[in-house]
């Protein structure tokens, strides 16, 4: 099996506190891997270590090996690395000064996916369709994103990430702040991406039911480490770690 992300003995300190205490993880290519764990366990930090956003905190220190899409992430240019990895955040953050169209188009432009106007138009439509938002916004692409609902804004953020045509997509609890309908749309979009485009999806969530719905693999984090990894069905059926057992027993 090929891997989109290879992490070995990753230790991350933020503001003097050790958040990740030796994480090892292999993220299989072309599948949805879900990272499950309680709040504050370092799930978000793990995602941010993969695209090096963690470095925006000047007090962060990263030790260990992180290989992303075949490249040593910490030996390459962070901007180039981020252009190959899409990310969706927990709180929808479309840029309020750009139109719906340019929120998506800017990402494509920065990443060199499209340059000419007609190319940009095509990528924007493609990304918005993939994010299940096209039909709702196709007649108001020049509107500011602030006119959209929270769930629509989050799908716009998904479209923005997809316009980069990323091989790897990171999502940090993307449905934690939105309603059930929007959650379903995003989950469906993620499944389609894997099936139709072979994208690797790494999804952080604290909801085990979401892991069962969209995940192929699951990594369970506890106390700054990955304590369990495997196919979602197998881990849910035969959990080995006490925390995993507790997590999935609630669903039964």
């Amino acid at each position: 099996m090929r891997h989109a992300v290879l992490i070995e003995d990753l230790r991350v300190r933020l503001n003097g506190k050790e958040v990740l205490k030796g994480v090892s993880l292999r993220v299989p290519e072309g599948a949805v891997t879900v990272i499950l764990g309680p709040s504050g366990v370092g799930k978000s930090t793990l995602l941010r270590t993969i695209n090096r956003l963690v470095e925006l905190n000047p007090d962060a220190s990263v030790e260990g090996r992180v290989e992303v899409l075949g490249v040593d992430a910490y030996a390459t240019d962070p901007y180039k690395l981020r252009r190959r990895v899409g990310m969706v955040f927990q709180i929808p953050n479309p840029l309020p000064h750009l139109s719906i169209y340019w929120n998506v188009a800017l990402a494509a432009k920065v990443c060199g996916v499209a340059k000419r106007k007609d190319e940009l138009n095509r990528v924007v439509e493609w990304a918005l369709r993939k994010a299940m938002l096209w039909e709702e916004v196709k007649d108001r692409l020049r509107d500011p994103p602030t006119k959209l609902s929270g769930g629509q804004q989050q799908r716009l953020c998904l479209a923005r990430a997809l316009a980069m045509k990323p091989k790897l997509l990171l999502l940090d609890e993307p449905t934690a702040n939105i309603d059930v309908e929007n959650t379903e749309l995003i989950e469906r979009a993620l499944r389609d991406l894997v099936r139709e485009d072979g994208t690797t999806v790494l999804l952080v969530t604290h909801m085990p039911d979401q892991a069962l719905r969209v995940g192929d693999y699951v990594a369970v984090m506890y106390d700054g480490r990955v304590v369990e990894f495997g196919r979602v069905g197998e881990v849910a059926r035969e959990p080995t770690h006490p925390f995993t057992r507790k997590l999935f027993s609630r669903l039964a």
Binding site: N51, L53, L56, P58, Y79, K80, R82, R83, G86, M87, F89, I91, N93, P94, L95, P96, H97, L98, L106, A107, V110, C111, C157, R160, A161, M164
Partner: protein
């Protein structure tokens, strides 16, 4: 019984508050009213256009005149000092907000904070020493440089506040699509605070309009001819008011009142513009 006491206390408080308000408003209103009355006399004696364009009267001639060269000087000073001060302030604010831990950026931040405490007349003395003496003449340029020194800390502090208030989530959105640091500044931070940049610039303009002390040694008070270039001497409305108000000639004092009215009116325009912009600034 206690009801009555409480009501008396409330009434007393209202009376005291009312008196204090009147005490604060009276001098304020008297400045505006007397400026308006006296200024209007001076301006209407020659007509608004002539007041704005003609030369001041000769001392003791008893005649009326205008503030043309001084107004031209104020416009030049404001234009040059804003053109220098605003971009420089923006650069400093970007440096200190983007690289808050860089020692150089900390040093600059400290210096700018220090300038805020500097008596404005010192700005004039410094520019006198490093610009006027080498150039051999006071000039509009030297005056504008002194004004730049005065406005820099105010405008910088304003820009810093706004740039610092750009939510982290938007910066992260920019970095996540692969923008460089410069890209995030250019495509995310600056567009988000562009109204704030406009307000900061207007605050700079309003400081440049009214400052007097930094111009005492630097500008040259040449108010009987129009400034020919920015490297030659000039005058400003504020400096004219300062000089003419202290002259023993009623006709010059009257021109000073007229100049004060012009200054007050231009302040009104700038603060109205600031007010309109601030309403649109997203906090």
């Amino acid at each position: 019984m206690s009801d009555v006491v409480e009501k008396l206390e409330d009434a007393a408080l209202a009376v005291v508050a009312g008196l204090v308000t009147v005490a604060a408003l009276v001098p304020y209103a008297s400045i505006i009213v007397s400026t308006f009355i006296n200024g209007f006399k001076a301006v209407s004696a020659v007509g608004l256009w002539d007041f704005l364009t003609s030369l001041p009267p000769a001392p003791g001639s008893g005649g009326y005149g205008g503030v043309g060269p001084s107004l031209a000087g104020t416009l030049m000073l404001t234009a040059v000092s804003t053109a220098l001060g605003v971009p420089l302030s923006l650069l400093i604010a970007l440096l200190t907000t983007e690289f808050p831990r860089n020692p150089f950026s900390k040093l600059i931040k400290g210096l700018v904070k220090g300038l805020l405490e500097l008596p404005t007349i010192m700005a004039g003395m410094v520019i006198y020493t490093i610009v006027v003496i080498p150039m051999g003449t006071p000039s509009v340029l030297a005056g504008a440089l002194a004004l730049t020194v005065v406005m820099l800390p105010y405008v910088t502090t304003y820009f810093e506040t706004y740039l610092g208030s750009v939510p982290r989530a938007y910066r992260e959105a920019g970095y996540a699509i692969g923008l460089s640091r410069a890209g995030v500044v250019w495509r995310v931070a600056l567009p988000l605070v562009k109204r704030g940049v406009l307000v900061g610039s207007l605050i700079g303009v309003s400081r440049a309009l009214g400052e007097t002390a930094p111009l005492l040694f630097t500008l040259g008070a040449a108010r009987y001819y129009y400034p020919s270039s920015i490297t030659g001497p000039g005058d400003s409305i504020s400096l004219l008011i300062y000089n003419f108000a202290m002259m023993p000639y009623p006709n010059l004092q009257s021109v000073a009142w007229g100049a004060a009215l012009i200054l007050l009116a231009s302040y009104l325009v700038v603060s109205l513009a600031i007010h309109l912009c601030v309403r649109g600034v997203e906090a």
